[in-house]
């Protein structure tokens, strides 16, 4: 069968909607700049330069790219199984704390091993934290959006307790943990920015999950449970366990996201350090429509926007919060399934005469 025009357009519907969302975001952002009396040309030039010109600025973009990409991946993976993990933020905190702890306490390992081990342990911390809402959802149908959001607060306060009372760097007034060992540090790239080889790790993880989703039976099961749990059960998959599994995988990635921030950027765990890194991932996943291959592009686009906003603020005085509005408008409309409806699916098919 040839795909006819309508079928082709039908395929385009999702990307078109996202495009419209981005467009609306830029229109509103630009409108706000105009209302505030800024020069549009200058503003966008500053935005562009802030994101791309020079090692420092480009490094700043890459630095923001990593958590966006990974938390986006985390949210996307759980969404594949129709579970919304809004708790990446909390999982990220636990991962970061685990990374700070094992990065400091484990001594004498070669760097490669140390980093790998710390990343795995951090992932495990995030995964265990995600197991709670995953289990509650599968066993009792407890709304995971509510529980993950609540558990985010618990995670933030819990790690805050640890860094304030149990594992604090005694030489510094700020609540932060002792510096991790050199062997656990992720090497910097593009000095003097804080970008580091976490970029490669993140891209590697995304590649791994693309492979997992497309080429393994587990990926197939996750996808099937998300699309049609009834079919999955009929075909003999344990739908509930798979949901929990997707949540745990998502939490694992969340934990690694936090770890890379600690190992690559800060070198220690700082109380309340994330400020919604985990939430930004939702935006990335939504814009990419959970398509793993599109995630890096979306994450890069948003990272550039965020990084550029800082430059724009510095050179033109336009507050970076304006870019925040732009992002927010984009995500608002990106959530919509049907701004543009290309066709309504009336029938499944035109076939010959059929009897009932």
């Amino acid at each position: 069968m040839k795909l006819n025009l309508l079928d082709r357009l039908d395929k385009l519907q999702a990307p078109l909607n996202v495009l419209v969302a981005v467009l609306i975001g830029f229109i509103i952002g630009t409108g706000l700049m105009l209302v505030e009396g800024h020069n549009i040309g200058e503003a966008y030039t500053a935005l562009f330069n802030g994101a791309f010109s020079g090692r420092f600025n480009f490094g700043g973009t890459l630095e923001r790219f990593v958590p966006l990409l990974l938390s986006g991946l985390a949210f996307a993976i759980s969404s594949k199984a129709s579970v919304f993990n809004v708790g990446v933020e909390g999982q990220l905190y636990f991962g970061a704390m685990a990374a700070a702890y094992f990065g400091y306490t484990i001594v004498g390992l070669p760097s490669f091993l140390h980093i790998t081990l710390v990343l795995l342990l951090a992932g495990l911390a995030g995964a265990l934290w995600a197991l709670i809402p995953g289990f509650l959802r599968a066993a009792y149908r407890v709304n995971e959006v509510c529980t993950t959001i609540m558990l985010n607060y618990v995670a933030i306060y819990f790690t805050s307790y640890i860094v304030n009372h149990l594992f604090k760097n005694p030489h510094i007034g700020v609540p932060q943990t002792p510096n991790i060992q050199e062997s656990a540090r992720l090497a910097r790239i593009l000095m003097p920015s804080r970008a580091n080889i976490g970029v490669y790790i993140a891209l590697g993880i995304v590649l791994f999950f693309i492979w997992l989703m497309d080429y393994t039976t587990l990926g197939y099961k996750i996808k099937t449970v998300g699309l049609n749990p009834q079919f999955a059960t009929y075909a003999g998959f344990q739908a509930r366990s798979i949901m929990v599994g997707a949540m745990v995988l998502s939490g694992f990635i969340g934990g690694i996201t936090g770890a890379i921030q600690v190992l690559g950027i800060h070198g220690y765990f700082l109380d309340n350090f994330s400020k919604s890194l985990g939430f930004d991932g939702i935006m990335v996943a939504l814009l990419a429509r959970n398509n793993l291959k599109v995630l890096p592009f979306v994450a890069f686009f948003l990272a550039a926007l965020k990084s550029g906003a800082v430059g724009m603020e510095r050179f033109t005085g336009i507050p970076r919060e304006l870019i925040g509005i732009m992002e927010a408008v984009i995500i608002l409309f990106a959530a919509a399934e049907a701004i543009i409806v290309i066709r309504r699916r009336l029938s499944y098919q035109k076939g010959g005469a059929e009897v009932v």
Partner: protein, 307 residues
């Protein structure tokens, strides 16, 4: 060591009631939407924008009444935005709620910088707060006075609204149709009532209640606006709604429970307990509470005889 008597004082009752009010108002809002089959996690964002608008309007007009009106208007607008995304553009209701919350956070952040030139928080003596109400009948009796007098107007309003919504939901034509919208939309459609309109109404009403909740946070409970000051209270409202069985009076009790955990937390903190554990108390309580209400609901479902 601490003694329970230090914690369980008359003032704890006050704290419980005061801290339950924003949760209660939010919960009433999400009861209305939940009855129409919309789990409105966007209430958090509605409250946040309303809290900001309340402060801004009160600051400029010098009138807390204008502050409340602005908050309600803002709440309705954000709820309308949610309706646009969910009802018109068919976004998943949870995703729409999350998106509205992210938007609200960015929006208030922007306005804070743009209108007041500050980041993080805004306070000014020119902000006119919502007054406390002194009922002279109660003032004479010391215990009653401590327990029930001198609350903020909104604390009283919250309690009044519990009964108002109980009446609206269970006694009126509007409420009957609303309750059917959630459980049997097809029956509602065939009775000639437009389901989408009912859902829109429900969302807008949750905007009004979220608006009141937000105004209370920034003009009653405190007199300032702080970035992300709702701090999950909208979500706790959603939890209170589930815990209270999606019905106003029992949800009020659930809100008091959450207010109580917050109150106890604050009290224990004063006694030297690590603040973090106390701060997380309401959130832990929420997770436990939703889980219990879901287990209860499932029991009920397996008991019934389907035909």
């Amino acid at each position: 060591m601490f003694r329970f008597s230090d914690v369980l004082t008359l003032t704890l009752v006050r704290a419980t009631i005061r801290m339950s009010t924003p949760i209660l108002l939010a919960a009433l809002g999400v009861i209305v939407t939940e009855l129409a089959a919309i789990t409105n996690v966007g209430i958090e964002g509605i409250m946040l924008v309303s809290a900001f608008m309340a402060v801004a309007a009160s600051y400029w007009s010098g009138s807390w009444i204008v502050g409340i009106l602005a908050a309600v208007a803002a709440g309705v607008l954000i709820a309308a935005l949610m309706a646009l995304i969910h009802l018109r553009f068919k976004a998943n209701v949870l995703v729409a709620g999350i998106a509205v919350n992210m938007f609200s956070l960015a929006f208030t952040r922007f306005l804070l910088v743009n209108w007041f030139g500050v980041a993080g928080s805004f306070y000014s003596p020119r902000i006119s707060p919502i007054p406390r109400i002194n009922l002279s009948i109660l003032a004479a009796h010391p215990v009653l006075d401590t327990l029930f007098n001198n609350y903020n107007l909104m604390d009283y309003l919250g309690i009044v609204l519990v009964f108002v919504f109980h009446f609206l939901i269970y006694k009126t034509v509007w409420g009957l149709r609303l309750r059917f919208t959630g459980v049997h939309p097809l029956a509602v459609e065939t009775a000639g009532v437009n389901v989408t309109v009912k859902k829109l109404q429900a969302l807008l009403i949750s905007g009004v209640l979220g608006g009141l909740a937000g105004a209370h946070l920034s003009l009653g409970y405190t007199t300032q606006f702080i970035e992300n000051m709702t701090n999950g209270r909208g979500f706790i409202g959603v939890a209170a709604m589930y815990f209270g069985g999606i019905s106003p009076i029992t949800t009020w009790l659930a809100s008091l429970f959450f207010g109580f955990t917050e109150g106890v937390g604050a009290r224990l903190q004063n006694l030297g307990f690590p603040s973090q554990f106390m701060l997380m108390l309401p959130y832990v309580a929420t997770v436990v509470a939703i889980t219990f209400s879901m287990i209860r609901q499932q029991r009920r479902e397996t008991d019934k005889q389907p035909f």
